[in-house]
């Protein structure tokens, strides 16, 4: 997947708040790594401030938020606000998991969340789409 010389994609996988179901996030980390990306995982119990800070400090191309539980719209809007406030407005935001439902997708898209992947999305689809999305954002 990874082409020689091209800068590898750096991605932060994050679990916000009290959402502790982390099997999906860990699986994504593995899939992103297998696809040649540099992956940083926040671990559990992260405030939105911590996630935004980590994204900026680690200079990532994208932040992938995994949510089984919790309310995606307020969580994403707070992360976007934090990123913008701290000069990370150009970082691509991605969301996935059971909590990312069809009904909240339009609102999240409008807020600027780049890729949204509900349950049942095959891993290769997620990886391919994200790779394209980040490439197109970089150009």
């Amino acid at each position: 997947m990874n082409t020689q010389g091209a800068k590898r994609i750096r991605i932060l996988v994050a679990k916000p708040g009290l959402d502790i179901h982390d099997r999906g996030a860990l699986l994504l980390c593995k899939a992103f790594r297998n696809a040649g990306m540099e992956v940083i995982y926040t671990g559990l119990w992260q405030t939105v401030e911590k996630i935004a800070n980590a994204a900026i400090e680690e200079d990532v191309d994208a932040v992938a938020i995994s949510l089984l539980d919790g309310q995606p719209v307020p969580i994403f809007s707070k992360i976007i606000k934090e990123l913008k406030k701290n000069g990370g407005g150009d970082i691509c935001l991605l969301g996935g998991g059971i909590a990312v439902t069809d009904s909240c997708k339009p609102q999240l898209e409008e807020m600027g969340v780049g890729g949204l992947y509900g349950p049942g999305t095959p891993l290769n689809v997620i990886v391919d789409e994200i790779t394209e999305l980040i490439k197109s954002m970089k150009n």
Partner: protein
């Protein structure tokens, strides 16, 4: 439907198809068939025994479900306490014979709705219980003398929740010595079983102390109550195999029992009060054999290791939840069948209660219709299949007995490894337990990804959405009605309207008790009656033990 092209034969590719996988879920090798040879070292009286007889392999009662059909329950807890109350009544009217109250995430993590981590998680995945008023509302108009109540509180918040429940019951005039039910109260499994790492400002020793206080209090005051439910279910949901699921469970149980015995609690009083929750998964026979192996191991452990003299104290009371991880987003109607098979396996394994998932769990916590389906599933098995007629109908099957033996051996090996390490607290503190569970977390998914395990609709017989059998999934419609905001406002109002001096007085009394090491339950009930809230109570206990007020170190004591 695809058009049939004239003149072209449709080839039946699955004709004479052979199964792809011939070992069990936990990779136990299975032979073509089993016979008397495979059981030649198994003595019936010593290893199996009649139903209701030591070592209880075949069940804890001689007549099993003829005497009492297993308790049919269902996960419940969402929205405000009043909403949860409505939902509980709905379930009872539609065939539940017991109830479950599940906590929202902040409750389960020992923190309150105003905590920085709780934002967006209040009253969503369970019911909020942050003050005594909440249990008053949750159980309003529900007869507590005829209802067995299972509280899903795992961590130290179990102390506060049980105190709230006791306070509510006493206010309504109930004699608490007659109440029946259980509370998970398995705080140590939280360090590795489900999520990893534990809270940053916590001590497994304080968690164990609080666990023992609940065991001791119940042994004295609530003899029909189960003060601990070993939460192997959560461990299984991290992708572990049967040896890890039960091995960790027994290691946890040993720690809690040793601590209670040191306190002077009689093993004959708690041996069967410490109960178990395991998963019932799609491996039908492994699930059945697991429950049988657990009962035999528990009986032997009680008698041989802990010296129980009353055979009744050697009985393992088992409850089960079906395997959430076996359910698929694709073709959700298939989940109804999966849940049915898993529930049947639990019943054939001789459990005391079942709690099937909702078929829509890959989408949301069970909707009303999914809840109804899960209740019907339990009652169809109870009323229509005849499985209640005879205790342990699979006992004596060469395969099932052999599998029971194999599973017992494997669990013992795993358990001994933990014991040799110095027990579960040592295995937590040296990082081994977390590492073991973490390594399992993506194993199952990788097996599906690589096609080693076939899941209909996921990696085999995949269909376009248009072809799926339609089934009602109404996540958004019903979750839209739920709002954490409403609850947060009512909690704020409660804090404003209580007698703050009385709260402070009772909290300082609790602080004193917590510093002496005495049992915390009576003083906790006093704080609940004064209107204190969850984080105030647990924070006070934590501070008295030299820990930060907040388990995450993010919130300060509001009274200082």
């Amino acid at each position: 439907m695809e058009p049939i092209i004239k003149g072209e034969d449709v080839k039946v590719v699955r004709w004479r198809e052979k199964p792809k996988k011939l070992d069990t879920f936990s990779d136990i090798e299975v032979k073509e068939s089993y016979g008397p040879e495979d059981l030649k070292n198994t003595n019936y009286e010593e290893e199996i025994g009649d139903p209701g007889e030591y070592p209880f392999t075949r069940g804890i009662h001689p007549n099993m479900y003829r005497g009492k059909i297993w308790t049919r329950r269902l996960f419940c807890g969402v929205g405000s306490p009043s909403f949860t109350n409505k939902r509980l009544k709905y379930q009872i009217k539609r065939g539940a014979s017991g109830i479950i109250v599940s906590p929202d995430m902040p409750c389960n993590m020992d923190i309150e709705p105003d905590h920085p981590l709780a934002d967006g998680f209040v009253a969503l995945q369970g019911a909020p219980i942050y003050c005594g008023k909440d249990t008053d509302l949750i159980f309003e108009e529900i007869d507590l003398s005829s209802t067995s109540i299972a509280f899903q509180w795992c961590d130290s918040s179990a102390l506060f929740t049980l105190a709230c429940f006791i306070a509510s019951a006493q206010k309504r005039g109930y004699d608490i010595s007659k109440l029946r039910g259980s509370i998970i109260n398995d705080p140590l499994h939280q360090y590795f079983g489900w999520y990893t790492g534990g809270q940053p400002h916590s001590s497994p020793h304080l968690k164990l102390k609080i666990n023992t206080d609940i065991v001791e209090y119940c042994a004295k005051n609530m003899p029909y109550w189960h003060p601990v439910v070993i939460n192997s279910y959560d461990i299984s949901q991290s992708g572990t195999d049967v040896f890890q699921e039960v091995g960790f469970g027994f290691a946890l149980a040993k720690e809690y029992i040793r601590s209670a015995l040191k306190r002077g609690v009689d093993i004959n009083k708690i041996g069967s009060r410490i109960m178990h929750v395991y998963t019932s998964n799609m491996d039908f026979f492994e699930t059945i054999a697991k429950f049988r192996a657990v009962r035999r191991m528990w009986a032997k452990m009680m008698k041989e290791e802990f010296g129980a003299t009353d055979p009744k104290a050697c009985r393992a009371f088992i409850t089960t939840h079906t395997d959430g991880y076996s359910l698929t987003y694709q073709q959700p109607a298939n989940n109804i069948l999966r849940i049915g098979i898993e529930t049947l396996a639990a019943v054939l394994g001789g459990v005391q209660s079942t709690d099937p998932c909702g078929y829509d769990e890959p989408y949301c916590i069970p909707s009303h219709k999914a809840a109804l389906m899960s209740l019907n599933t339990q009652n169809i098995i109870a009323y229509e299949t005849g499985v209640v007629n005879c205790a342990d109908p699979l006992g004596g099957s060469y395969y099932v007995e052999h599998l029971t033996n194999t599973i017992e051996d494997g669990i013992n090996k795993y358990l001994n490894k933990i014991e040799e390490m110095g027990g579960i607290i040592a295995a937590i503190e040296n990082g081994w337990a977390v590492k073991e569970v973490n390594e399992s977390k993506i194993r199952r998914d990788m097996e599906v990804e690589e096609g080693k395990r076939l899941i209909v609709g996921v990696n085999e017989l995949v269909l376009d959405k248009e072809e799926w059998v339609p089934v009602d999934i109404d996540r958004d419609a019903w979750l839209d009605d739920i709002s954490g905001e409403e609850y947060i406002e009512s909690l704020q109002a409660h804090k404003k309207n209580r007698d703050i001096n009385k709260v402070k007085e009772k909290l300082s009394a609790l602080h004193k008790t917590a510093s002496t090491g005495d049992n915390l339950m009576p003083a906790t009930i006093d704080t609940v009656n004064a209107g204190a809230t969850l984080a105030e109570v647990l924070g006070t206990i934590r501070e008295a033990n030299g820990l930060h007020y907040d388990p995450y170190g993010m919130v300060e004591n509001p009274f200082k």
